[in-house]
């Protein structure tokens, strides 16, 4: 038990703050994979391929879906579940993924 705590503490010291931020973005983005594929790599041609797409494009489309300015079958309802900050986080994370 003492050993476990010591190791947990040691590992915690190794974790930079940046990693926590990346993990948060990664976790937020993971939910999208049910339709857009793991890490945003699309499995079918029916949905947008998010991995490696331009950050600005992802963010502006999400906002347009949310605000009803871009027609959608589902994304208008899902985009309303995300704040501006979350949309920017998602856009940055997907833009950084390998296609």
């Amino acid at each position: 038990m003492r050993c476990q705590i010591a190791i947990a503490a040691a590992l915690a010291c190794l974790a930079p703050a940046a990693f926590a931020q990346t993990a948060g973005a990664r976790n937020l983005a993971a939910s999208c994979a049910i339709c857009h594929g793991t890490d945003g790599r699309a499995v079918t041609k029916e949905v947008a391929a998010l991995a490696g797409a331009p950050r600005e494009q992802i963010a502006s489309r999400m906002r347009a879906f949310r605000d009803g300015q871009r027609p959608a079958t589902v994304m208008h309802q899902i985009a309303k579940g995300y704040t501006d900050a979350e949309i920017d986080t998602l856009a940055a994370w997907f833009a950084a993924q390998k296609r």
Binding site: C3, Q4, I7, A8, A9, A10, L11, A12, L14, A15, A20, A23, G24, R26, N27, L28, A30, S31, C32, A33, I34, C35, H36, G37, T38, A42, V43, T44, E46, V47, T73, V74, Q77, I78, K80, G81, Y82, E86
Partner: protein, 416 residues
């Protein structure tokens, strides 16, 4: 640098005591059940931290999807099309063990396999799915064993058997589907099934009828969209009766007994009341109404048994959260994120998740319900985000294409 390596090795030896594959690892996670929840958890833990060993124990040789299995009943797709192997998990380094877990010792942190032997774990993920409360339906088990009543509520042999019964039924016969009180697996599933069987009858046995006996006071999901489809497409074929709870069956006459009367069927499809699967019960994970497993929605960790994370249909659902494939897959990501953080000595953060469920109402037309769920600290659970979510504007072939796209994508996200 040297010190870090030493600590990793020390960690592997002391935390998990695991010798699998001979490589040093941080810890071992055992996942019980390879459905949408368990397979996804196994894959994502390895993706997000390859220094964690993951063993997935699954009793079936391949995965059969409940979503889209209703299309098999109409003859509009095949079992092969909705099945996937577990080989796709190999590339993530998940060790898939084909066996059944018969007991769990949460004190010693071991699971026992049916074929013998124990596996030690640091964290356990339970994604056991559902089993049925057969005892609430007099005569059910005997009738099911004789094949005269089926549930087909776990995609597999009963799906095939029900399709055969529908094909063999005389034109002019009656197919009865009985729906239990909510909550049960896949709220719109029974209404989709009634629609697809109606489509098949309309095309192949036009004098036949579909009778929906629902224990609930109204449709439990997408009510307006289903009712519209039924009145547009299946008038004279499909009849819906709310407040019709089954209490028993007579297999020899294919009769379903309701609280007030009996109904005779040619094909009798009774979906029994459900609960978290047997192994969850055996492990002491069931906390609520003798049926469901309450968990901490930030980590999916059981409120009853420490170190055990429960996913999918077995959970006590959060407010307005359906028992669905999309939810099980995303429960798995909450658990994977939490387990990776915990095994690295960090604090897990809550994760926002999306639900999306498509239902077919004809061979090509579908409609959908979606919601976004986030952690709400004062209520201590996940709740739907205000103003988000909703249903399709109307059923359409476009939504049917999206339904297939969703299915192929979530199968790959969970298993490949």
């Amino acid at each position: 640098m040297q010190r870090r390596d030493f600590l990793k090795l020390a960690g592997a030896a002391s935390l998990a005591g695991c010798a699998s594959a001979g490589t040093p690892s941080k810890a071992r996670v055992v996942v019980v059940g390879g459905g949408f929840g368990g397979a996804t958890a196994a894959k994502y833990i390895r993706m997000w931290d390859p220094s964690i060993d993951v063993v997935l124990v699954e009793r079936e040789s391949s995965f059969v999807s409940c979503p889209l299995s209703n299309l098999v009943l109409g003859g509009y797709t095949t079992m092969t099309d909705i099945s996937r192997g577990y080989d796709g998990l190999n590339k993530y380094g998940v060790q898939v063990v084909r066996d059944e877990v018969t007991a769990i010792d949460a004190g010693k942190k071991t699971v026992r396999l049916a074929r013998g032997g124990d596996i030690a774990y640091e964290r356990l993920v339970m994604s056991p799915g559902i089993d049925f409360n057969f005892n609430e339906l007099q005569g059910y088990e005997a009738a099911m064993q004789s094949g005269s009543v089926l549930h087909a509520w776990k995609a597999g042999p009963q799906t095939v058997a029900l399709r055969q019964q529908l094909e063999q039924m005389r034109d002019g016969g009656v197919y009865v589907i009985s729906i239990p009180m909510a909550p049960y697996r896949c709220p719109p599933g029974p209404y989709e099934r009634a629609s697809i069987v109606s489509a098949y009858f309309k095309q192949a046995k036009p004098r036949s009828k579909v009778l929906v006996l629902d224990a609930n006071p109204d449709l439990t999901s997408k009510a307006g969209l289903f009712k519209r489809a039924w009145s547009d497409l299946y008038q004279g074929i499909l009849e819906y009766r709310p407040n019709s709870r089954a209490v028993g069956v007579d297999g020899s006459t294919r009769t379903i007994k309701l609280e007030l009367d009996d109904v005779k069927a040619d094909v009798l499809n009774v979906v029994p009341p459900q609960r978290a699967a047997d192994i969850a019960q055996k492990t002491g994970l069931i906390t609520t109404n003798n049926r469901w497993c309450d968990i901490d929605w930030r980590t999916m960790e059981s409120k009853a048994v420490k170190g055990v994370h429960v996913l999918g249909d077995a959970t006590l659902s959060a407010p307005a959260m359906p028992k669905s494939a999309s939810m099980a897959n995303n429960h798995a990501k909450i658990a994977a994120a939490a387990i990776v953080e915990l095994l690295n000595g960090r604090n897990p953060e809550p994760v926002k998740i999306i639900n999306t469920c498509y239902s077919f109402v004809s061979p090509k037309e579908a409609m959908r319900v979606s919601s976004v769920h986030e952690w709400e600290p004062t209520q201590g659970t996940l709740v739907p985000v205000k103003a988000s979510g909703g249903v399709s504007a109307a059923r359409s072939e476009a939504e049917g294409n999206y339904a297939w796209s969703w299915a192929r994508t979530i199968w790959a996200d969970s298993l490949a």
